[in-house]
């Protein structure tokens, strides 16, 4: 069940009304009810993988309890490593087994040994990378005595499986989400309204921005050798907007949905394309994953402490692992490597924390310097996204070479597509994001003080655009991760 489908449009109101009309007496079953709804939501995709999700949940729940009850360090370590190995084992089998097998096979082939290794014909369970990381953070936090294990199984299961975040995050932390799950929730009118606004904006990003840009990006990336440099450059630009609209749109719908149930999820995006350097970009892009890697990989490795060599090593490790998390392909690894390269100067010159606040805070326009920095950072991310989108490393290089020639200055051609319409839509989108950049999401406060007629007319207009541009639905990109 995708967030941008009619079935979700029916599922959400039904669950919402049942959830809040249970009455005060039944508040105790709020969590079991949400858990059942979440499992139903997941089972709509493929009920067989529900057992994998349940197994992972039971394992981490039980491991948490056993670690706390362990009387010796050895036992604690045993349960800790059991959970880590099994969790990463599942992820390895479903996501990375074929990649390693084929890579090993090709390596042997290059030395003249022809081998036919066995590969798996399985689909990747939706959300496995996300719920595995949920579980891992929980187990690691207990191991390091940062939190106590959750003894209520239903509450813990809901922490792992809460349907808005189940399939593509945000990757939650027990310290943030579990206390909210454990507390009884009362209906909050303002929060619910904000939730609906965030869902509306998320749908706009997905249906109007991402799905429309996808059509242009697909033209450029499919048969890229036949396109001019300008078409390829615009194609890369469209993919840059596509992936942002797609994933941040998904996150907005997830966060908005959670708000309807009285729960605040971790923010995942904070206007990353308004960043002035790559370090800022990574503080604003997929925040829940970046902070996960920071807390559970980068800092344990030494972070920015230690010698220059250690710092450089840590930067490359975290970005290459981050790339590998996205998918078992060298394109993702190179994407991670490029980002490490881009961020390296700011780490070495200690400028990586120069831009902590949003650009032009309290002002309407950025300075020329800020604008230049934003454009430069945007171009760098654009370049890296080419690897993320390409089918292979060779394809990515062909794409970049195809872009960098005299045809870069010719008129771009997207057969049967109007650049004017998509251009206007993107301009409107960037404008609204710019206006709302100091808020959690662009529509958080936009127009909330305007008369109802104006405010609602704006929402109707967004709704109309969503309806008008619907019909070219593409699956959320991050579902595959």
């Amino acid at each position: 069940m995708l967030f941008n489908t009619i079935s979700y449009g029916i599922f959400l109101p039904v669950i919402f009304i049942l959830y809040w009309t249970m009455g005060v007496r039944f508040r105790k079953i709020q969590n079991p009810f949400l858990l059942v709804a979440s499992y139903f939501f997941y089972a709509c995709w493929d009920w067989r993988f529900l057992f994998l999700l349940m197994f992972s949940t039971v394992l981490d729940y039980y491991t948490g309890l056993k670690m706390e009850d362990a009387t010796t360090l050895f036992r604690k370590k045993f349960w800790f490593w059991l959970s880590i190995i099994v969790n990463l084992g599942f992820l390895g089998v479903f996501k990375y087994f074929n990649f390693f097998t084929l890579s090993f096979s090709r390596l042997l082939d290059s030395f003249g040994f022809e081998v036919h290794l066995w590969t798996l014909s399985v689909i990747l369970p939706v959300g496995i990378s996300f719920y595995t990381f949920h579980g891992l953070s929980y187990v690691i936090d207990i191991y390091y005595n940062r939190i106590n294990p959750e003894r209520n199984f239903v509450d813990y299961s809901l922490f792992v499986s809460f349907f808005p975040l189940l399939v593509a995050g945000p990757i939650e932390r027990a310290t943030h989400l579990l206390p909210q799950i454990k507390s009884q929730r009362a209906f909050d009118f303002e929060k619910a309204k904000a939730g609906l606004r965030q869902i509306l904006w998320g749908l706009f990003k997905k249906v109007v921005i991402a799905d429309q840009c996808a059509e242009f990006a697909n033209i450029a990336f499919n048969n890229s050798s036949q396109h001019s440099g300008s078409t390829l450059a615009l194609g890369a630009l469209f993919f840059t907007f596509q992936i942002y609209g797609d994933f941040s749109g998904y996150s907005d719908i997830a966060l908005g949905t959670a708000k309807l149930f009285g729960i605040d999820l971790l923010r995942n995006f904070a206007y990353p394309y308004f960043s002035r350097d790559i370090a800022e970009f990574w503080r604003r892009w997929h925040i829940s994953l970046s902070s996960w890697f920071r807390d559970y990989l980068y800092i344990p490795l030494g972070g920015s402490k230690g010698s220059t060599w250690i710092q450089v090593r840590n930067v490359f490790i975290i970005f290459i692992v981050s790339g590998f998390w996205h998918g078992a392909s060298f394109t993702f690894i190179i994407w991670g490597f490029l980002n490490a390269l881009f961020i390296l100067p700011s780490v070495l010159f200690k400028t990586n924390r120069n831009n902590l606040e949003i650009v032009a805070k309290g002002r309407i326009f950025p300075t020329v310097g800020e604008l230049g920095s934003m454009i430069f950072t945007f171009i760098l991310t654009n370049l890296a996204w080419v690897f993320f989108r390409s089918n292979s490393v060779q394809h990515a290089f062909q794409f970049l070479v195809g872009m960098a020639n005299e045809t870069l200055f010719s008129a771009p051609v997207f057969a049967g597509k109007s650049l004017t319409v998509i251009g206007l839509v993107l301009a409107f989108f960037v404008l609204i994001e710019w206006i709302g950049r100091e808020k959690q999401f662009a529509l958080e406060e936009l127009g909330t003080r305007s008369p109802r007629l104006i405010r609602w007319s704006f929402y109707y207009a967004l709704g109309f655009l969503i309806f008008y541009f619907s019909g070219a639905e593409q699956q959320f990109i991050y579902f595959q991760f």
């Binding site: 209906f187 009118f189 609906l196 019909g471």
Partner: protein, 339 residues
């Protein structure tokens, strides 16, 4: 919570009201003619499926037909009323469709057979480019073929129409004039369902003639000049193998139905602009099931050589159908086949 629900209801009141008005207009206009009966079912709007309209018309009729014309849009040139004058005691129904596949032809014959119709005569048009290129699958939309419920069938039509996001669609609902491709506005015959004309002595008398105006000729000249009506090689070329195993099963089933009814049938392979000839392997398969009732007009011949016979490249003039049918009817015994 109550305040929230009230606000939501108020917010959605305007769009819901708008949707209700649009749905009301849709039901009133009934563009797919789902809520008949109507006196006739002509192909008025481009988005209507002729196959669907023909089925509706047949179901609304007294069902006293004993003869049927089956095939793709190329069969539009077959005049049921003319055939009635040639084949004694025949009462033709033109079961028109677009891009008809062998699967859909079988489906229609099976339906007629299963409802107890005495199938005395059948004219079956087969195309080298359409009939066997769809794995025998049928694209009939009517619920009696798809197995959908009547309600779901109507809902599907409504959803397709209202989500089309085409200004002309809204204009139609509002009763405004629409022009061009979306509004062919054909007038079918009330009895035979002949697609583009209403039967009369005058129409039949013009059937064998080119009937092209100067404007038509200019249009074809222009299509020749721009290469839309491209130059053919004028050498015999076979179409590739087309009839799949599934399609052969459908052919066998059609043959069984025709045998069961001792049907007097004519299988006509149509002449097309590309001049591809129906290939020998497939022709032999057809012969296996239809014997000598096949007339092959595909390939390079006097019909296909003249570009003026193809006013839009895809279809040939009704006159060509008349000449072919005359030749077929003269050659063959027009009585029911004895086993």
């Amino acid at each position: 919570m109550n305040k929230f629900i009230r606000t939501l209801l108020l917010f959605f009141a305007a769009p819901v009201l708008l949707v209700m008005v649009v749905v009301g207009l849709y039901l009133k206009k009934d563009v797919y003619m789902d809520f008949g009966p109507y006196p006739n079912y002509s192909w008025k709007y481009y988005f209507q499926q002729l196959d669907d309209l023909s089925t509706k018309k047949y179901l609304q009729s007294e069902k006293n037909y004993n003869s049927f014309i089956l095939g793709s849009s190329r069969s539009v040139g077959v005049y049921g009323c003319y055939l009635q004058s040639k084949i004694p005691n025949s009462r033709f129904f033109h079961y028109g469709s677009w891009s008809e596949s062998i699967g859909a032809i079988h489906q229609k014959l099976w339906f007629l057979d299963s409802t107890g119709v005495d199938i005395q005569n059948v004219v079956l048009y087969i195309d080298t480019d359409n009939t066997f290129h769809q794995d025998g699958s049928s694209f009939s939309q009517h619920y009696i073929f798809t197995g959908a419920t009547e309600t779901m069938y109507r809902l599907k039509h409504m959803k397709t129409y209202l989500l089309a996001k085409d200004l002309d669609y809204m204009k139609i609902l509002l009763g405004m004039d629409v022009h061009g491709e979306i509004f062919p506005n054909w007038k079918s015959d009330k009895i035979t369902n002949d697609c583009q004309h209403q039967c009369s002595a005058a129409v039949i008398s013009k059937y064998g003639f080119r009937n092209q105006t100067h404007r038509d000729s200019v249009k074809i000249d222009s299509m020749l000049n721009v290469g839309f009506l491209y130059a053919r090689k004028n050498v015999p070329q076979n179409s590739g193998d087309q009839i799949s195993e599934i399609e052969e099963i459908k052919l066998a089933a059609i043959s069984e139905i025709l045998k069961k009814h001792h049907t007097n049938f004519y299988v006509v392979i149509t002449p097309l602009y590309d001049q591809f000839r129906f290939n020998t392997r497939d022709l032999n398969i057809l012969k296996k099931y239809f014997g000598n009732r096949i007339s092959d007009f595909s390939g390079v011949n006097s019909f296909t050589n003249d570009p003026y016979n193809f006013p839009d490249r895809k279809h040939f003039l009704p006159m060509i159908s008349k000449i072919m049918l005359d030749s077929v009817l003269n050659e063959k015994d027009n009585t029911r086949i004895k086993l």
